[in-house]
Amino acid sequence: MTEMTEQQVRDEVRAFLSQNWDPNRSLIEWRNILVDSGWGAAHYPKEWLGKGLSAAMSLVVDDVFREFEAIGAARMGIRTLAGATILNHGSDMHKRKFLRGILTGEETWCQLFSEPGSGSDLAGAATRADFKDGKWVINGQKVWTTSAHHAHFGLLLARTDWDAVKHKGLSYFIIDMHQPGVDVHQLKQMNGHASFNQVFITDAVIEPEFQVGELGEGWKVATTTLMHERRGADGARRYEQKINRPERIYQEYNEEVDHLLAPYIWYPQRTGRVDLLIEHAKAAGRYGDPAVRQEIAKVLGMAKAAEWTARRARAAQNQGKPQGPEGSIGKLAASHVARAANRVHTMIAGPNAMLTGDDSWMDGTIAEILVSTPAISIAGGTDEIQRNIISERILQMPKELRTDTDRPFREVPRNQVG
């Protein structure tokens, strides 16, 4: 069977929505209808709640939903990664059991990869999965887990073979977060927000059928999850927007958005808020100071150049050109910009930079910038990792000598944690 044409998709989605879309339904009721129709996840296979459309074609579906201001399936957070991983590597049972809850939003997911002992080195995970009495028994710590405090299920990477080399001793599991032995603690940041969790796992249990992929192939499965995460890094970061309309379904949807976005409300501040520099300088009466103007212009220049570099990269991508170096330096540029903007906001604020909350300029926004920018050069790959990647992948320079990948993991030095 051939793929539908764009017009066919448009027509079918319009027909479906005309018949079924009703903003006075409850969110869950609507999403169950949606999932049954296959239009909630049109890029899923037909046999698994989808329509088997390409990614490009599923953008057309989104388009029509926007026409109707219709709410789509749930897709914020880790759930999208869970869905993709399960579709790729999961068993039929996994698909039956989890895909619907993922799409309706009734079940929330988290990702249990990072550990306190291995920050930039995910494959160094040392959480144990031991097979005892027909079940996997899990012990270890995970960290930097968003939404773990309200997640139903976790995507878990754990070590099942300590004699295998680093990347070959890991297996991938779905863990029920609502069980004894799984303790979630919020991790407060220096800026006062708590966007992440630490998860302490003590003798938690997983039935063997909740292993995903082959034993010892966990890193391969995790790579799928990570690839979708990276791919989403641009796309999915367009977090869902709230919709200001009165009907019931919008109210429920807005609550969902608020709930899921809560950990991220300070994210704009970690960029350094270059957009506020001139406004801040004018408000503080410093915009006439030549030294301040020099510093503002430096940051503004760097931020604009970084923005144009990103647009060069996108333009090249849109023209189907091979990716040039300009696509890889954005994250590093963002670190420079944020750090420099922090400096200049401090210079502008003067003594007021000592204050926080509503005693700080712009109702605390400036203060939040000053203690949030250090995150940008760490989260999602530190500056050091970025420079490694740029030099090795883009500039083709020699790789760092590795001593940890070709011997039994139990012999590799690692951090003592906890």
Binding site: S114, P116, G117, S118, G119, S120, D121, G124, V143, W144, K166, L187, K188, Q189, M190, G192, G285, A291, V292, R339, R343, T346, M347, A349, G350, P351, A353, M354, L355, T356, G357, D358, D359, S360, A367, L370, V371, P374, A375, S377, I378, A379, T382, D383, E384, R387, E400, R402, T403, D404, T405, V412, P413, R414, N415
Partner: protein, 372 residues
């Protein structure tokens, strides 16, 4: 100018360091920074009575120990290192220096012994809500009313303004001169409001004076000179405090990377980490040298002392926050968490960057005072 500490000074530093290691470990700092008062009165008493630190820079005839700026700066350097929560800088550096430089003999007799013993906690209120610490920015007016004066206006960024029982306040006299005034916390018409401090180990307040009775320290013409000397002293001490904090951050970050393993090897074995550590050493050592030179220049009465003091503060402003940024980065994700101690020094570095004037302002002041 001297470029080394005497054996006595080294010993003095060791005593303070041991004291602070015992009394102000980070657990204690966390406790105080989350407390209402913001410091531990028992530690304050011990620091005053057992070590005599509050008396350091006050002349012996007023109950002090008569030490120079160098010794005072050693104390603040160690306190910066330990991130001690205490009104020491406000009382023993700012208020005490102001009274030493501005007060008449009688006034010194009245105020200094209490400050020296630590019974009185003083502070110095200079900056106004829209201003800084430069004398020209002071607009608050003082009107003469017989023997006393009356103060009108607001002071902001007042260090330990809630803990203090004695305010020294800079205000403008009718003759256009600057005056430094003593105001006890029992005076009428003083309203204090805590400000939300980014750095919870260093509390700030706004204080409103509404026709508040005040005593002019010294003569109606001497305020500028007294404030200039006071300002130099407190900036030199702040620069040393900042250098101490920066060094602590540097050492802790180094210890962390030495301990930490990634990709099967010590993080400290990565060349980039090593070079960053070397750069941090360079920055911190230069900041220390400048801060020490500032204190020494004041003790020597060096003609360029004000320039050197501003040089030191400008350097410390850059070095401290830069070291803090590096330290967070070297810790990785954990360095951005509240539970990791790095953030406490980061916030002190950020607040110190602008306290008593930022780097750009001090650079300009440095050139204006440079004789060469």
């Amino acid at each position: 100018m001297k470029f080394s500490f005497t054996a006595e000074q080294e010993e003095f530093r060791s005593v303070i360091r041991r004291f602070l290691e015992a009394k102000s470990p980070t657990t204690a700092v966390r406790k105080q920074m989350e407390s209402d008062r913001g410091y531990d009165p028992a530690v304050w008493r011990s620091l005053a009575n057992d070590l005599g630190l509050t008396a350091l820079h006050i002349p012996e005839e007023y109950g002090g120990a008569g030490f120079g700026v160098t010794e005072l700066a050693i104390a603040t350097e160690e306190m910066g290192r330990a991130l001690l929560c205490a009104p020491f800088f406000a009382s023993a550096v700012m208020a005490s220096s102001a009274i030493v430089h501005a007060g008449s003999d009688e006034q010194k007799q009245a105020y200094l012994p209490g400050l020296a013993s630590g019974e009185t906690i003083g502070t110095l209120a200079v900056a106004e809500p829209d201003g800084g610490w430069n004398a020209e920015a002071i607009k608050m007016s003082a009107t003469a009313a017989g023997a006393v004066y009356r103060l009108h206006g607001a002071k902001s960024y007042v260090l330990d303004g809630l803990s203090a029982s004695l305010f020294v306040v800079a205000a403008r006299l009718a003759n256009g001169h600057l005056g430094l005034f003593a105001v006890p916390d029992t005076a009428d018409c003083v309203t204090r409001r805590p400000l939300k401090s980014m750095d919870p180990t260093r509390r700030l307040a706004r204080i409103d004076f509404d026709n508040t009775p005040a005593t002019l320290l010294g003569s109606p013409e001497g305020g500028e000179a007294a404030y200039a000397k006071t300002f130099d002293t407190m900036v030199a001490c702040l620069a040393c405090e900042m250098a101490g904090g920066a060094e602590r951050l540097r050492e802790d970050a180094l210890e962390y990377v030495n301990m930490r393993v990634q990709f099967g090897r010590s993080i400290a074995s990565f060349q980039v980490t090593k070079h960053k550590a070397a750069d941090m050493l360079l920055e911190v050592e230069l900041a220390k040298s400048a801060a020490y030179a500032a204190a020494a220049a004041l003790d020597d009465g060096d003609a360029d002392a004000s320039a050197i003091v501003s040089l030191a503060k400008a350097g410390a402003s850059e070095a401290y926050i830069q070291t803090a940024i590096h330290a967070v980065q070297m810790h990785g994700g954990i360095g951005f968490t509240y539970e990791n101690d790095t953030q406490m020094w980061f916030k002190r570095a950020k607040a110190s960057e602008v306290f008593l004037g930022d780097a750009a302002w001090h650079r300009e002041r440095m050139l204006q005072n440079w004789s060469a």
